[in-house]
């Protein structure tokens, strides 16, 4: 089976994996937190930042010499 090379794609994959975990768990915590809970705005910040980071790496320019798989 073809495997991904240790390249930009691999780095992208690993970062997205970690951000997906932050995004996913913060969403679950938001759903499980009452609307008046003081932690809720902080959780919302984490969740929004993770989402923006994912958007940002999707726009990241491909390094020279790297071809899209």
């Amino acid at each position: 089976m073809p495997d991904i090379s240790p390249s930009f794609d691999r780095w992208l994959h690993d970062v997205k994996n970690q951000l997906s975990i932050i995004l996913g768990f913060s969403e679950i915590m938001l759903q499980e937190t009452e609307s008046g809970d003081l932690r809720r705005p902080d959780l919302q910040e984490i969740n929004t930042a993770a989402g923006r980071a994912l958007e940002a790496i999707a726009r990241a320019p491909r390094p020279e010499g790297e071809t899209s798989r």
Binding site: M1, P2, D3, I4, D9, R10, L12, H13, D14, K16, N17, L19, S20, I21, L23, G24, F25, E27, I28, L54, S68, R69
Partner: protein, 342 residues
């Protein structure tokens, strides 16, 4: 309305209710495979909240072992994992007859279309990208679990019929092992002829099920230690029609039905039940007919002793010369390595 009709309708109603109850609640056992512990726990949290039971594995090898142990209804699997990745694990699962019907969703941070194509090539049923949308994940999981339960229902029906076939074999001690041998002979023979995987699978099932209709034949005829009278022979012939009806509603047996119904037909039209001639007799039924005669000749029956393999070959050649069987099929069967059939 007769008592039998009332009982039959009650049974149909109960079966429908049970089936509807199972399918209305599409929760199941989900195997989550991801080398990142936190990723696996995230999926587990989402799925447990939806009522599923979740087990986890951290690479392909662990997943393959877990599938046999836990028999999950669905597998959610990361693509990039150490030792054995998601693509190869999926390919192995889909090539294994025991696990091929378990749906696999590949969950990955890869977004390239080439990766999706590889996923489809190795038999994945669906593809979900990270970050996972919980609502989308739940909807897809429910859909595939529901599909798996339909498949299980069909599989159960097939298992019942298979058990019936083995019960019939157990009624007659002289045919012990007949079904297993026939399945093996037919599969070897089919492979040597270059048949498709689906045809080979039909031959394997047909080996077990070809005589399932004997469930409807009285012991006095089925177990008679001597030649049957013409009247008894007519009763015995009914087993092909009874077997065909038994397999009738089971979709997974649709390729097996022609074997069950037609394995006693002869090329010259002197066989039964439909007196088909020549190519009108399905090839798989002709193959089963050859191996059935071979096994009947080489094993002891209530009405005869076993003959040698060489003598059985002569008998098959004689049947081909008489216009009952295709001589090329008989030749091909005889050319198979005899050690495979001993």
């Amino acid at each position: 309305m007769s008592l039998a009709t009332i009982e039959s309708r009650a049974w149909d109603g109960l079966s429908a209710d049970l089936s509807a109850a199972r399918l209305a609640s599409p929760t199941g056992t989900i195997l989550v495979v991801d080398d990142l512990e936190a990723s696996a726990r995230l999926l587990e949290r989402i799925l447990v909240r939806d009522g599923h039971r979740v087990i986890t594995a951290h690479d392909g090898e662990e997943a393959l072992a877990s599938v046999y142990t836990h028999q999950p209804d669905l597998i959610l699997m990361d693509v990039l994992m150490p030792t054995l990745g998601g693509f190869e694990t999926c390919r192995r699962l889909k090539n294994d007859p025991v696990t091929r019907l378990v749906p696999v969703i590949l969950v990955t941070a890869l977004r390239q279309s080439r990766d999706r194509l590889i996923g489809l090539e190795v038999g994945a049923d669906d593809f979900i990208c990270k970050p996972v949308n919980p609502q989308e994940l739940i909807a897809r999981v429910r859909s595939l679990v529901r599909m798996k339960k339909y498949t299980d229902d069909l599989d159960t029906a097939e298992s019942v019929i298979l058990s019936l076939a083995l019960t019939i074999e157990a009624r007659d001690v002289t045919t012990e092992g007949h079904c297993q041998r026939l399945a093996r002979y037919a599969v070897d023979f089919g492979r040597s002829l270059g048949l498709t995987v689906d045809d080979i699978a039909a031959l394997a099932r047909g080996g077990y099920l070809h005589d399932v209709g004997k469930v409807g034949i009285p012991d006095a005829v089925l177990l008679k230690p001597g030649r049957l009278t013409p009247g008894e022979f007519l009763v015995m012939q009914q087993h092909t029609l009874i077997g065909d009806r038994l397999c009738g509603d089971v979709r997974s047996l649709r390729r097996v039905r022609p074997i069950v119904r037609h394995h006693h037909e002869r090329l010259d039209g002197s066989g039964y039940p439909d007196r088909l001639r020549g190519d009108a007799i399905p090839l798989l039924a002709q193959i089963m007919g050859v191996v059935d005669v071979f096994d009947a000749l080489t094993t002891v029956r209530p009405y005869k002793a076993a003959v040698s393999i060489e003598r059985a070959y002569e008998e098959l050649f004689q049947e081909a010369a008489s216009g009952w069987r295709r001589s090329d099929l008989v030749d091909a069967f005889v050319r198979l390595d005899p050690r495979e059939r001993v």
